[in-house]
Symmetry: C2
C-alpha cells in the first residue's frame, strides 16, 4: 500500500554513517530556548533553568509494534515521536526535545529512511520540539526506532500516578478504542490484499479509526486547557496499553480502588458501527484497546463544575477505597473486576 511501487532506491552504504546522519538531520531547526546545543557533538546541552527536566523513552520494533504492510514510514516516524511526547504530557509537562535512534536493515534504501525522518520532522514541527541527537546503525533484520523525549515543568505543576484519593473523579480526554479498531480494519485489508493484490480497499467508513491508528496525536493541549480551567489533576497517566490497564496502574500506585461506568465511556459513532460490522463488543474495545494516547486523570469533586460541559473531557468513574477494588459497572448494573487485558508487546510473540 505504499504510494509509489517503484521509488528511487539509493543505497545507504554509499553515504556511510556520518553522511547519513548529516543528510537526515541537516534540516532540523532549533526551536526551544532550552536547547543550547543540538545534534553534532558527543552529546546535546540543555538549559532548563528553574524548571525540572522530564525524561521518557520508548522502543518501536518492526513486527512487534508496527507492520510496514500498512504503516507508511512517514506515519511511523510521526507516531514514534508522538508516543513519547504523550508520556511527557502524562506528567503535565511540556515536551521540548527528543533524541531519535534508528536501526535499519539494508533492505531499506535511503529514500525509505528519508520518509521515516520526514515523519519525525513533521512531528517535531507540529509539537515544536527539537531533535537534539540520536544514533543511526544497521540491523540484521527489521527496522527499529528508539526515541527519548525530554520536557520541562515547574515542580508544582508535575502530576504523578500516585496522587488519586477516594471520592475523586476519573476523567479521560477524547474518545477510546478507535485506534485499536483502526488496526483491525487495516489488518483485515492486509489479508484481503494478500489474497487478491488487485483489490482496491474502500476505507471511507473507517477514516477516523484508521487515522487514530496511523496518525495518533499527543494531547499537549490538555495541559493548557487544564491550566486555563485552574485544574491540577491529582494523578495522571496516558492511555497507551488500554484504559483498563492504565486505570489499574493509577489505582495500584495511588493505593485506591475505582468504579468505572460502562455507560460513560466516550466512544465515537464510527467505532460503534465498525464494532457491529466486526461483531465485537464496543465496550471491550474501549476498555482494552490500546494506542489511543488520550490522558486519564483524577480530579477533586470540587473541580467537576469546571469540566462538566467541556467536550474535551468525560467523567468515566470515581475513585474508591483500595479494599473495594477496581470494577466496571455495566449498563445492566453488574460489577465486573477490571483486568489488565491491554495490548502487551511481550505477549504478542
Amino acid at each position: 500500500m505504499l504510494e509509489n511501487k517503484n521509488p528511487q532506491r539509493t543505497s545507504i552504504s554509499q553515504l556511510g554513517e556520518f553522511g547519513l546522519i548529516d543528510h537526515l538531520t541537516k534540516n532540523f531547526e532549533i526551536r526551544q530556548d532550552s536547547t543550547l546545543k543540538g545534534i553534532g557533538d558527543d552529546a546535546a546541552v540543555l538549559d532548563f533553568k528553574d524548571k525540572k527536566a522530564i525524561v521518557t523513552t520508548d522502543l518501536l520494533i518492526e513486527g512487534i509494534h508496527f507492520d510496514l504492510a500498512f504503516m507508511p514510514l512517514k506515519h511511523l516516524g510521526y507516531k514514534a515521536v508522538v508516543v513519547n511526547l504523550s508520556d511527557i504530557c502524562a506528567m503535565n509537562a511540556k515536551p521540548t526535545q527528543i533524541t531519535v535512534s534508528i536501526a535499519i536493515s539494508n533492505r531499506f534504501p535511503l529514500e525509505a529512511v528519508e520518509e521515516l525522518y520526514a515523519g519525525i520532522a513533521l512531528a517535531a514541527n507540529q509539537y515544536n520540539v527539537d531533535v537534539i541527537g540520536g544514533d543511526t546503525t544497521s540491523s540484521q533484520t527489521g527496522l527499529l526506532i528508539s526515541v527519548t523525549a525530554l520536557g520541562q515543568a515547574d515542580e508544582s505543576e508535575i502530576v504523578y500516578r500516585n496522587g488519586a484519593r477516594p471520592n475523586e473523579l476519573l476523567v479521560v480526554s477524547g474518545d477510546l478504542g478507535s485506534a485499536y479498531m483502526g488496526l483491525q480494519v487495516l489488518e483485515r485489508e492486509k489479508q484481503v490484499f494478500l489474497v487478491n493484490p488487485q483489490s482496491q480497499p474502500d476505507l471511507d467508513n473507517y477514516t477516523y479509526l484508521i487515522e487514530r491508528q496511523l496518525k495518533p496525536e499527543a494531547r499537549t493541549d490538555i495541559r493548557t486547557l487544564l491550566h486555563a480551567l485552574e485544574i491540577k489533576p491529582t494523578s495522571m497517566i496516558d492511555i497507551s496499553d488500554g484504559l483498563s490497564s492504565e486505570i489499574l496502574h493509577l489505582c495500584k500506585q495511588s493505593n485506591v480502588g475505582c468504579n468505572l461506568f460502562e455507560e460513560k465511556l466516550p466512544i465515537d459513532p464510527q467505532l460503534i458501527n465498525t464494532c457491529e460490522e466486526f461483531n465485537i463488543d464496543a465496550t471491550t474495545v474501549a476498555i482494552n484497546g490500546g494506542e489511543d494516547y488520550e490522558l486519564l486523570f483524577t480530579i477533586g469533586l470540587g473541580d467537576f463544575d469546571k469540566i462538566k460541559a467541556n467536550p474535551n473531557f468525560t467523567v468515566i468513574g470515581h475513585i474508591t477505597e483500595e479494599k473495594e477494588g477496581a470494577h466496571l459497572i455495566t449498563r445492566a448494573d453488574t460489577k465486573i473486576p477490571l483486568k489488565a487485558r491491554g495490548w502487551n508487546a511481550l505477549e504478542s510473540e
Copy 2:
C-alpha cells in the same frame, strides 16, 4: 563460552512486561540528588538547578555491535552503559542518569536478561548514575539495547568539538588500539572453538586486550584530573570509532588541520606483542581501531607543563591551519593524510 552451559531457564512471558520491568528494576537505587523521580511513572523527573543538562544516546545491536558467542551478557550490559557515559565525559560533564531500553527475542530466558541487567546495575553503581527509566519489549530476532545518558555541568565547563585552534596540542588519555586487538583475539578463539568445541583457549597473553574489549571504562576521572590541573580543554571528543576518525571530526568542526606523530602514539606492550603475532601493524591498529573510549582533546601550549609528566595523558600531535590538512607524521618522517577508516557499523553489513 558461557560459564554455565545448563543455566536455569524461566520464560519471560510468564512475568509479562510489567512484571519483568518490576523484577529487573526493583533493586535500582536513587543516588543522584538531581533525580526527583526515577522508574515507575510515565517519565522521570530531574532537577539540574543552575547546571546544564547533557544528553546522549547509543544503540547496540546483536550481530552488528556485539557477538554473544564471546560477549557475556553481564559485560554487554556494562559496556552499553559505559559507551554512553563516555559521550557525557567527552563534553567535560558529569554523568548522572541513564534510561535503558531492551528488545529481546524469546530465545533468551529470564536468567539471561537478569545477567544483562546485572551488568547495567554494576555500571550504574561503579559510575554512580541512576537508572531512571526505559522500555522492555520483545524482538523477532536478536537482542538490542538502547541507552540514553544524562549528565550535568556548569555552562563554563562544557567542552565542544569545535574549539581547537592552530598551535594547540593534541592530547589523548590512556592507550590506543587495545580494544580492537582484544576483539581480534576473541574472534580467532571463536573460530577455533567452532572447529573444535573441546579446545581450551589460553588467553593469558591477551588479558589486557580482552578486558579493554569486554569491559571498557568511561574516563569520568579525566574531568576531575583536568580540573585539579586547572586545565580546560579547548575541544574534546571520545574515541569510539578510532583515533583517526575522531581527529577528523575535531578538525572539521574546529576548521583546523593537525599533525599526528606516529612515535608519540601510546601503545601498550601487550598490543605490540599481539600485533607481531597477528602480523598487523600496531600503528594502524592504534589509529584505526575503535572502542577504546579514551578521550581526545586539545589544550593551549601554556598548559603543556601541567600535563607533560602525567601518566594519564600523552601529547600526540598539534593543531595546524585548516589549509594544511590532517596528517600522520611517520617515524620515517613521511607525511600521510589521515583517513577515517574507523569502525563503522553501517559498513559492517
